[in-house]
């Protein structure tokens, strides 16, 4: 038996070595297993709870699953599952890199199939005939490339740290009754509830699964599924303390704002599906971007390769499309085509069945709409202006959730997707992305300057850094943007967990004005957080420097190439200065100076090892994740070079000049960014550490500006006036249709009353009419035989009379 077991294990191992991409599938499925087990356990527990006093078996199950106290085993299981995922991800990454370099030496045909698989989930359209392909197929699958492999490892490692941290941070939730001091009940007491340790880890696991599934997906459809799952998990976790009004409102806000973005995403998906007939990233790229050789290995004209072909219909021959660089139609390229007709003009084939063999066209503006729609979805998830308002409110969730949302999962999804569907974006869309990113980074950084809540400062810094990433992607800095996503994930997770440790040590105090001097009490937290702060500010040789320096270089290159977009170069440099100021302000207010709240300071304590260990791990990553053989050069970053390997060709084709300019003015950009950051840090040090001047005087001098920033540029107020209030009023007005006007003090009678003027009343009236008709009709069934006979006869007579009239 042992032999057979070993054989089985061996066969499984061979299975993995045959398609090592399945490491990633397994790693993705581990968290969802934890989720399902926790769900099952919790479900059984609450099912048998009512029976626990009477049924012995129910009692056994009930106490096996923890009884009245929340069970810790589920949380440990979830943590082990995600740790295993991280292990698999690292093994997979090493394997992938090995095989990739081996593949470069001696190409093997099976290479692609080993790291990508897909299966048809549903197929629509004609399937008749053996050789005819189904018109459209909806496929599920995965594809591992450098970007996916690296981000997958990042997400699992950070998630493991966050899970470990949560084991300590959420330990209040293991109690049988938890008192929520934020909830005031009508009888002037606080809410008492059961601890929700398991629930927390349940959703955390689902969150990780969704994000991992999003990363390995090889098609937009699967991304969309995970996208929505991520959204709903964030909803559950932001509203984790759902008895608090602020938490449930924040959860709703996050969900609804994301729906706005998702509406755009859906529009994009619909356009892609109807014109491309596929959701697969590679196939979309293949249809839209002209390859450099045709089906007969004949090269296409060099200026066309890799671009989106555009054309115009000939006036005399409507099916013939002449290629021009400014045409109003975009040409979709089939798998098999001849390069010959490209210059003379191609024939447009409207039959969707011939997609694989014939050219087709779509309106160019619809391509722009598709790109903008997908970007709107990304802007919602990644909290870009104008959909950024949900992210700071999401601070209502427990701090590890904030860390997870801000570092590894939710907000990363948007940036990642922009990177993934990059070939789909037209230059117009990319310009929009760049401007949205630049505006976001400035607005968020300016708001972060004046916030008092430690988590809100970090939240706005996340929005700002996401703005950097979007800006970078928009100006052709594909690699720097995604490298920044990676480095930012590590240091932002570190910053949030450190903030969590501070909040935990101060017994849920989040106000910066009540902190101070904590470095004496929490040396590890203070030191690790300082590393995170230095990294985000862009201190040379910290991870953040490598990515941010390249982003600003790229933006400067763009600004110098296209002088009318110089603003895109100025904003990130200003943003770097603001970042330096607000991050050091945060750190100095928390950890240095004299304690502002003696009571809180007295009780402050360093966190247990289960919380400081993740901090140390993340600090090491924040310091050195981007290091490479050329230590001194941001472009020498090893991870950056790896990410660059999956950069789409569209980047170099579209932004060759910009990249060239970026290289040329690289030192200038780095110097400017560093100078700006130094100014910001210097002001923060002078104001909060050396006390050269009182920052409150500035606030007093510019009260309007201060209030404007403190109110977050009045975005919430604006949306309230423009959208929320009108929607709510409309809802109230519509709800009138559904309400009956009750007589005062007569609730019961109001229920029975039929008011046909309301919608509900109208439906009730129909029901009541039927009821009354039934009451009348039942009297016909009198049971009197003689009446039946009479009716029978009269009916017959009448029928004969009618018949005779009709015949005559």
């Amino acid at each position: 038996m042992i032999v057979s077991l070993i054989e089985w294990l061996y066969s499984q191992a061979m299975w993995f070595s045959h398609t090592p991409g399945r490491y990633y599938v397994l790693a993705t499925l581990l968290p969802v297993t934890a989720f399902l087990l926790l769900l099952l356990g919790g479900g059984i527990r609450s099912l048998v709870r009512p029976l626990r006093r009477t049924e012995p078996s129910a009692r056994f199950l009930y106490y096996l699953l923890g009884g009245d106290r929340p069970l810790r085993a589920g949380a440990y299981f979830a943590t082990v599952a995600i740790a295993l995922s991280a292990l698999l991800a690292i093994v997979g990454l090493i394997n992938y890199l090995d095989e990739y370099s081996a593949q470069l030496q001696s190409p093997t045909p099976t290479y692609y199939a080993r790291w990508a698989e897909n299966t048809t989930w549903a197929s629509i359209g004609p399937t008749a005939g053996e050789h005819q392909l189904p018109a459209v197929q909806l496929k599920l699958g995965y594809r591992i490339d450098h970007l996916t492999a690296i981000l997958f490892a990042m997400v699992t490692v950070i998630s493991t740290c966050i899970f470990l941290f949560s084991l300590g941070y959420m330990r209040d939730e293991t109690e049988e009754t938890v008192t929520d001091h934020e909830v005031h009940l009508p009888d002037h007491t606080h809410l008492h509830r059961r601890g929700r340790y398991g629930r927390f880890f349940l959703f955390l696991s689902l969150f990780c699964f969704s994000m991992l599934n999003l990363l390995i997906a090889d098609n937009l459809f699967q991304v969309f599924i995970s996208w929505e799952l991520v959204g709903v998990c964030s909803y559950f976790l932001i509203g984790f303390y759902y008895e608090r009004h602020s938490a449930s409102t924040a959860a709703n806000k996050a969900f609804i704002v994301n729906r706005i973005g998702d509406a755009g995403f859906l529009i994009g998906l619909a356009i892609v599906w109807s014109y491309f007939g596929t959701f697969n990233f590679l196939e979309i790229q293949g249809k839209l971007r002209c390859p450099d050789s045709d089906a007969h290995r004949k090269g296409v004209p060099v200026q066309l390769a890799g671009t989106i072909l555009r054309g115009e219909r000939m006036a005399d021959q409507p099916r013939l499309v002449q290629l021009t660089s400014t045409g109003s139609l975009a040409v979709l390229i089939p798998d098999h085509f001849h390069a010959g007709p490209l210059e003379k003009g191609i024939i447009d084939s409207p039959d969707p069945l011939e997609r694989n063999s014939q050219f087709a066209v779509m309106p160019y503006w619809l391509l722009i709409v598709a790109g903008l729609g997908i970007f709107l979805g990304c802007a919602g998830k990644s909290a870009q202006v104008p959909l950024q308002t949900w992210l700071p409110d999401a601070m209502e969730g427990p701090t590890p959730v904030s860390a997870l949302i801000h570092a590894a999962t939710m907000v990363a999804a948007g940036v990642y997707l922009v990177g993934r569907v990059y070939p789909l974006f037209t230059p117009e869309v990319l310009l929009v992305i760049a401007y949205v990113g630049a505006i976001t980074l400035l607005i968020a950084a300016s708001i972060a300057l004046v916030q008092h809540d430690i988590k809100r400062v970090l939240a706005y810094s996340t929005v700002s850094q996401l703005g950097y990433m979007m800006l970078s992607l928009g100006v052709g800095g594909w690699t720097p943007g995604l490298l920044h996503l990676l480095t930012h994930a590590f240091f932002k997770a570190l910053l949030f967990l450190a903030a969590g440790a501070v909040i935990f040590g101060l017994h849920h105090q989040q106000d910066l004005r009540k902190m101070g001097g904590l470095s004496r009490k929490m040396p590890i937290t203070a030191f690790t957080m300082l590393i995170g702060v230095l990294a985000i500010v862009g201190t040379p040789f910290f991870s953040g420097w490598y990515s941010k320096d390249q982003i600003i270089g790229q933006a400067l290159g763009f600004g110098l190439t296209y002088p009318k977009h110089l603003l895109l170069a100025i904003l990130p440099i200003v943003g770097a200065g603001l970042t330096g100021f607000y991050m050091f302000r945060l750190w100095l207010l928390v950890f240095t100076g004299t304690p502002r709240d003696a009571h809180a300071y007295e009780h402050a304590h360093e966190s247990p090892w289960v919380m400081t260990l993740p901090l140390c791990v993340l600090a090491i990553f924040s310091l050195g994740i981007a290091w490479g053989p050329q230590f001194w050069s941001p472009e020498g970053s090893y991870v950056g070079q790896l990410i660059e390997k999956s950069e789409p060709d569209a980047v170099v084709l579209g932004f060759g000049k910009v990249i060239h300019a970026a290289h040329e003015h690289h030192l200038l950009a780095g110097g400017l960014a560093l100078a700006a950051a130094l100014v910001g840090v210097g002001i923060a040090l002078a104001a909060y550490s050396l006390r050269k001047f009182d920052i409150a005087r500035w606030q007093a001098a510019l009260p309007g500006v201060h209030r404007f920033l403190e109110r977050k540029w009045y975005f919430d107020e604006l949306y309230n006036v423009l959208l929320v209030r009108s929607t709510v009023m409309l809802a109230f007005a519509l709800s009138r249709f559904d309400k009956r006007t009750a007589a005062p003090g007569d609730a019961d009678a109001a229920d029975r009353r039929v008011d046909p003027s309301s919608l509900d009343g109208a439906f009730s009236a129909v029901g009541l009419l039927m009821h009354r008709a039934g009451l009348r009709l039942r009297e016909v069934q009198s049971g009197l035989l003689r009446r039946y006979v009479l009716v029978l006869i009269l009916t017959t007579v009448v029928m004969f009379a009618i018949l005779s009239i009709l015949i005559a």
Binding site: Q781, G783, L784
Partner: protein, 104 residues
């Protein structure tokens, strides 16, 4: 005296039919209703026989049908009498107006 024609027989049949229907609708006694049913059946019989007599193509069929109706009427009477007996056993009356246990 005029000769008897088909019309005379049909009028007689119709009259008998009306009597039967009248009997069913008016009588409360179950036996009386049964008699009304017999009258209706016999009015039909008269029509059958009359058509058999006056129509050259239906000579046999009409008479056979009449015989059939007589046999069926006997069977029907037996079944109806059994129902009436049972009804009497349960309600101690043969008044059909009391047979209203299933009314809506």
């Amino acid at each position: 005296m005029t000769e008897l024609t088909l019309t005379h027989f049909l009028v007689l049949g119709a009259f008998l039919f009306c009597c039967g229907v009248m009997c069913i609708t008016i009588k409360r006694n179950a036996i009386g209703i049964l008699m009304g049913v017999e009258l209706i059946l016999n009015s039909a019989n008269i029509n059958f026989v009359a058509f058999a007599r006056f129509s050259p193509t239906f000579q046999l069929e009409g008479q056979i049908f009449a015989l059939m109706v007589i046999v069926l009427a006997a069977g029907e009477a037996a079944v109806a009498l059994a129902i009436i007996l049972n009804f009497y056993n349960n309600h101690a009356t043969v008044d059909v107006d009391r047979a209203e246990d299933l009314k809506g």
